[in-house]
């Protein structure tokens, strides 16, 4: 028999998490603008609310009320589906990212908390969490390709082409750079990976420095951030696959972009920085602090480096990152076999 109380609790937990993620994504846009402004010795948005704090709200309202414009020759269904696919694929992986320790066992409102990860600081403790994340984020490429194709316009097509090539190339390197971590912790569950890093010197950024570096590079290429932001390389491609989208459809792409950034930061935290593990402070503080630091790092990088050339990007992916990731796996496996 289905326990409806548990279903309700799961739904509430999911909604709370989704709300938190959406709010954080909205405020990441403000944070990015502020960080970039400070790096460029400017002040950044400060007109809407104190310190510009209501700016994301104003932006959201503006996006909602913008006029819907679409191309006449667009493939209507695919055109509308693309932003949805991209957004869903950007938000879904958060379900398996552990954000806190949580209480295991016990009862809440008469519902036992040992089922469906209810008592844990994660929405779904899947024992193949890493696989799940890579599967879902790979599906996101479909959204990009469909957006480019269905727009019936040349810049989106070129942008989607590039985006697909880039994402597929770096997916491989991204996956391989995590394998070292998986070898060390011996599990595909993100909860397990975090529990494995229970001392600071056991954080994977110290045990897997090369893997950490490769994951950072391949990760920022995978989510198409500067210096790898070829999909919307404005001086060549206008805005890449998003060119023909307006209003909230564009807003969804924008949301997905920052969703990807947040996801990457949480993944770096989970895989390499010990997730919610840390002394003294409560787990959720450690987790959000690390994620915040990673977000800042990616914005800092964006404020520093110019965009790479496209062929160099491909060269970097296939000739440097990929072999280095394989090398990292081999060394890790060797050391593990020799020691244990």
């Amino acid at each position: 028999m289905t326990d409806w109380g548990a279903v309700l609790l799961v739904a509430i937990k999911g909604f709370l998490a989704l709300g938190a993620i959406m709010t954080i994504i909205a405020y990441m846009t403000l944070m990015e603008r502020k960080v970039l402004a400070f790096i460029q010795v400017r002040k950044g948005p400060n007109r809407v609310g104190p310190w510009g704090l209501l700016q994301p709200l104003a932006d959201g309202i503006k996006l909602l009320f913008k006029e819907e414009i679409s191309v006449s020759g667009a493939d209507r269904i695919l055109y509308l589906m693309a932003p949805v696919i991209v957004t869903v694929c950007a938000l879904l992986p958060f379900a398996v990212v552990p954000f806190g320790k949580g209480i295991v066992g016990g009862k809440f409102l008469g519902v036992p908390l040992d089922q469906w990860a209810l008592g844990q600081g994660v929405l779904a403790d899947i024992n193949t969490g890493v696989l799940f994340i890579f599967a879902i984020s790979s599906l996101g490429v479909y959204g990009v390709v469909l957006a480019g194709w269905a727009s019936n316009s040349k810049y989106p097509l070129l942008g989607a082409n590039r985006a697909a090539a880039q994402m597929i190339s770096y997916e491989l390197a991204l996956g391989l750079s995590v394998v070292g971590v998986l070898l060390l912790s011996g599990t595909l569950s993100l909860v397990g990976i975090v529990e494995d890093q229970d001392r600071i010197w056991k954080w994977n950024c110290f045990r897997q420095p090369l893997g950490f570096l490769l994951f950072l590079i391949a990760g920022s290429a995978e989510i198409c951030r500067t210096p790898f932001d070829f999909i919307e390389c404005e001086n060549e491609l206008v805005a890449g696959y998003q060119t023909e989208y307006s209003s909230m459809k564009f807003g969804l792409f924008y949301l997905a972009e920052y969703g990807h950034l947040l996801l990457l930061s949480t993944l770096v935290t989970t895989f390499f920085l010990g997730g919610w593990q840390g002394p003294v402070l409560p787990p959720i503080v450690w987790f959000s602090g690390k994620v915040f630091a990673m977000l800042f790092f990616f914005m800092w990088v964006r404020g520093t480096y110019p965009r790479l050339r496209y062929d160099l990007l491909m060269q970097l992916g296939w000739k440097v990152i990929l072999p280095a990731a394989l090398f990292n796996i081999m060394i890790t496996a060797l050391v593990l076999t020799l020691i244990y």
Binding site: V35, A37, F38, I39, Q40, V41, R42, K43, N46, W300, V301, G303, T304, Y305
Partner: protein
């Protein structure tokens, strides 16, 4: 590894240092104070020799210094000065009309240099935006009025906002600002 490949490899490896240097540079600028001046609230006070809106001068007894010799109108490369001369009861020439079209003026200051009577000068008043071209043409009365402090930005001021006149001057010029009183004396 061939010689060329080795050199290329070395070049790539030598990029790692500069990449870190770049990050260090941007983090330094992150903590630098912003150079932004929030314009309607903060104002830049121009240098004393800044060439802004013109002003016609009077003698101490109130007569206009200008004798309508047309030198300024002649030298003006933008042809923005229009003068109609007249003769008063004492037999002195004076400008009956004196108009400068600020929409055409290029603020070169030739009129000031050409003037034999030092009757025209350029003030540091720089808030010259107008809503139509007609009101950019300043007549004699407007030119005779010295730009008052409160006139600065009367069109652009946000109602009720505090006006702070910035004393810093533009930082991008990299110059030490001279005291206005010191140079005027």
């Amino acid at each position: 590894m061939g010689e060329r490949a080795a050199r290329r490899h070395q070049e790539r490896m030598s990029m790692i240092g500069p990449l870190i240097k770049g990050l260090a540079l941007t983090i330094r600028y992150l903590f630098a104070p912003p150079v932004t001046e929030e314009y309607p609230e903060e104002r830049w006070e121009p240098f004393p020799r800044y060439r802004g809106r013109h002003q016609l001068l009077r003698h101490e007894d109130g007569r206009i210094k200008c004798v309508a010799c047309m030198l300024c109108a002649t030298v003006c490369p933008a042809r923005c000065i229009r003068i109609e001369g007249a003769v008063n009861e004492q037999g002195e020439q004076y400008p009956a009309t004196y108009e400068i079209d600020l929409g055409r003026c290029i603020f070169c200051g030739f009129c000031v240099e050409a003037c034999p009577k030092e009757a025209i000068l350029m003030t540091t008043h720089y808030e010259l935006a107008a809503l139509d071209r007609r009101s950019m043409i300043l007549d004699k009365e407007a030119l005779l009025r010295p730009p008052a402090e409160e006139e600065q930005g009367e069109r652009t001021r946000v109602p009720g906002s505090l006006v702070r006149i910035s004393k810093r001057g533009p930082r991008w010029m990299g110059m030490k600002r001279e005291k206005q009183a010191g140079t005027a004396a």
